[in-house]
């Protein structure tokens, strides 16, 4: 693997040129799983991945007593992700943040999909702030460290939704108020003198309180699968917006400013699409019986919360871990369970 450093401003023109070239980013790839492992070696480093769906992943490299610490980070391969690596991450004075770019034979950019597991090899990150170009002194390198990879294992996106100003650097590591502290490390992002934790408009976007991009990653909460970038997918995160109020007591789980009772998609899983209504009625005993499961397990067996979805599953003859489920199950005959199973099989969890 060959690495190159580009000026952030240079990268912009490279991206634009590549964009005019057309479909260089459409390499056909088929993957069996929804995630890939990106690995490599680095100096002691925090590796973060910011993805287009708002999900967030991080690992620290493993100190194996060499200068090249190995790391593996599992990221989705169905959405684009952007890598940022930080050396001396716990040391404010010596921290160095580097945006990673990818170069394939056809294109280059900072947002990519790893079609398969890829080994980036050794990534020569700077360890000393004096060794990077950093005009505003925010410890975020003005250069993108680009790694040359095989074009068939990676799809590079020409536009990075996580990079509003198209300079290649993800929004989170910009320094919006130009105070020499990147937004990520800045307790007062907009320099209005109020600590972000007490500032109702902490990113200076003039949206007070119910901010539709809580984590400032450029993905609006309603498209962000991890609203608070705590690394826990909102579908399993008991406090999606990290406001300290557990979702089940929080009247606005996703902090999109729409109270849950008015929000048809309060968990922001984007499953509000209009349903397809049939043209005619067909009697179905299993559906009638099975619809009685929906009060607890959701319409057509798709739960809206941590309770189990049963679409596509079997109503088994077994002892359930939930006593209340046993109390229900005992009320159904074997024939009724068969009918229900036949109907459940017709349902997909994406219904």
């Amino acid at each position: 693997m060959k690495t190159t450093s580009w000026k952030i401003s240079v990268l912009v023109s490279a991206l634009v040129l590549a964009g005019c070239g057309g479909s260089s980013n459409t390499d056909d790839v088929v993957s069996a799983t929804s995630s890939s492992i990106v690995s490599g070696t680095v100096p002691g480093t925090l590796i973060e991945a910011f993805c287009e769906d708002g999900s967030y992943y991080k690992v620290k490299s493993t100190d194996d007593n060499t200068a090249e610490h190995p790391f593996e980070i599992e990221i989705p391969n169905t959405v684009g992700c952007s890598l940022v690596m930080t050396t001396n991450e716990d040391d404010d004075a010596n921290r160095v943040v580097t945006q990673i770019g990818m170069i394939t034979p056809n294109t280059s950019g900072t947002l990519f999909m790893a079609a398969t597991d890829i080994d980036l090899g050794y990534i020569p990150l700077a360890m000393d702030p004096s060794n990077i170009n950093d005009i505003n002194g925010d410890h975020v390198s003005d250069d993108i460290l680009s790694i040359q990879v095989d074009g068939t294992s990676i799809v590079v996106e020409l536009e990075n939704a996580l990079d509003d100003d198209n300079d290649g650097l993800v929004n989170i590591y910009e320094d919006d108020d130009d105070d020499g502290i990147s937004n990520y490390h800045d307790d007062d992002d907009d320099n209005d003198g109020l600590d972000d934790s007490h500032d109702t408009d902490n990113d200076g976007d003039d949206i007070e309180g119910n901010d539709n991009d809580l984590d400032g990653d450029g993905i609006e909460n309603n498209h962000d699968v991890d609203d608070d970038n705590d690394g826990v997918d909102d579908s399993v995160d008991s406090d999606d917006d990290n406001d300290g109020i557990d979702d089940y007591l929080d009247s606005d789980d996703d902090n999109d400013g729409i109270d849950d009772y008015l929000d048809s998609d309060h968990d922001n899983d984007n499953t509000t699409a209009n349903i397809l209504l049939p043209a005619t009625y067909t009697a179905d005993a299993g559906r009638l019986l099975g619809s009685q499961c929906a009060q607890c397990h959701g319409t057509n067996g798709v739960s809206t919360n941590e309770w189990e979805s049963i679409a596509g599953e079997n109503f088994e003859h077994k002892t359930y871990s939930e006593e209340i489920m046993n109390a229900q199950a005992i009320g159904y005959t074997e024939d009724e369970k068969l009918d229900i199973n036949n109907w459940l099989k017709t349902l997909s969890s994406n219904d």
Binding site: Y248, L249, L277, Y281, L288, Q292, Q295, C296, E323
Partner: protein, 419 residues
């Protein structure tokens, strides 16, 4: 055909106009039109019935909900408004999804009369709505012992403004004050609800407010705690709640907040800083208007929920107003609604009714700000008596793990009903 929201008068008249045509020329209407099913009441049973009629019947049926209020406030979880863990806004649902996703017509009005022969409803504004099938899902009405002001002595048994009134009164209490509530004679809406409320209020006063000298009285018209007696009995003892079974309220004075009641042969009075009288109950007024009641409730065939009263063919009663022995509550109202929706669709399509429907009831009851208990029942049709009977009943004692599960249950129930 996409039907839009029928709020505006112009759209509404268009709808009425089309319907009137059916009445004038019924033979043409039967051949050429889509059956129109009108559901009166948009609570747990009514909203579910409308949704499932469209989900299963699709464009083969027109479905309209007539509901007075643009927003429904769930009585389920509303005792948590009293201790501040929820607001009525948290428990409010509108009809946007039913209207948009399921193509259900919404009319926000009240039915003033039912013409069973011409299958026509008259609304309070004088307009009429024609139906092929009519589903009554309007919940309960109260039987007050005398005329008193419910803004002074709230029942808070229909959620919304009443809930907030009671909350405000409780928050006005100081240490040493008394809270008195009454439990209506069965059958009444939400069997565990009154006992749950007593626990939540006692816990709130004692543990949240820190009032060690407040008193909570529960006057029960029934001889015993009607459900989960072990759980609630233990909690009453823990909170020091004074429980008086077999008491009959005979008068309510809203100014002095005084109850007159009989206990045994004796007539007694009790004054209280906050008085929460939950009156005895009967079917909703529409059931009486339509003349489909027998006594206080509406008898139905459990295979379809169609009225068994003479001349009431095509009228179905689901939820709290119907007269089966099933409990009166939101979860089982939703359950009955699916049986009813399927039965209506079978009838319209000439398919025999499903012969052995099952319904279920489940509920989690908060007993404090951190604990809940549960009650679960499955009901089956008994063909020999033509009634719904218990297939299995079970209860889970008060525990912290149930508190969280209570919200998972309610979220899916709310969603299955309104979204």
């Amino acid at each position: 055909m996409k039907r839009t929201h029928l709020n505006s008068r112009r759209d509404f008249m268009k709808f009425v106009g089309v319907s009137s045509f059916f009445a004038v020329a019924p033979s043409i209407a039967e051949a050429a039109t889509t059956p129109h099913i009108v559901v009166v009441g948009g609570g747990f049973s009514g909203a579910t019935c409308a949704k499932y009629l469209k989900m299963w019947g699709g464009s083969s049926v027109n479905v309209t909900i007539i509901e007075a209020n643009p927003t429904y406030v769930s009585p389920i979880l509303s005792n948590l408004v009293l201790n501040g863990q929820k607001t009525t806004a948290d428990l409010s649902f509108t009809y946007g999804d039913l209207n948009n996703k399921y193509d259900i017509n919404m009319i926000h009005s009240t039915v003033s009369s039912v013409d069973k022969i011409n299958q026509s409803l008259t609304l309070e504004n004088g307009s009429s709505v024609q139906y092929d099938k009519l589903v009554l899902a309007s919940g309960i009405d109260f039987i007050k012992v005398n005329d008193y002001d419910i803004t002074k002595v709230p029942h808070a048994w229909k959620a919304g403004e009443q809930t907030n009134l009671l909350k405000a009164q409780i928050d006005g209490m100081v240490d040493g004050d008394t809270f008195t509530m009454t439990v209506p004679a069965a059958p009444y809406r939400c069997p565990p609800g009154p006992y749950e409320r007593a626990c939540v209020v006692a816990d709130y006063l004692k543990n949240t407010k820190g009032f060690t000298n407040c008193k909570v009285n529960v006057l029960d018209a029934n001889a015993n705690i009607t459900v989960e007696a072990d759980t609630f009995g233990a909690k009453f003892a823990e909170y020091g709640i004074e429980y008086k079974p077999s008491t009959t309220v005979t008068a309510v004075d809203d100014n002095t907040k005084t109850l007159t009641y009989t206990e045994g042969a004796e007539s007694k009075t009790l004054s209280s800083k906050v008085l929460n009288v939950i009156p005895n109950q009967k079917a909703a007024p529409i059931v009486f208007t339509a003349g489909v009641n027998s006594g206080n409730w509406a008898p139905i065939n459990p295979l379809s929920y169609e009225s068994t009263e003479t001349g009431a063919e095509g009228i179905y009663i689901i939820g709290d107003s119907q007269a089966t022995g099933q409990p009166k509550a939101g979860h089982i109202g939703n359950s009955e609604a699916k049986v009813c929706a399927d039965a209506i669709l079978r009838t319209i399509n000439g398919v025999a009714l499903y012969a052995s429907p099952k319904t279920n009831s489940a509920c989690y009851s908060p007993t404090s700000a951190t604990e809940a208990s549960w009650l679960s029942g499955v009901f089956k049709y008994d063909s020999s008596t033509q009634t719904m009977v218990v297939s299995n009943l079970a209860a889970g004692e008060s525990a912290t793990e149930n508190y969280r599960k209570m919200f998972w249950w309610s979220e899916n129930l709310f969603s299955d009903t309104f979204t």
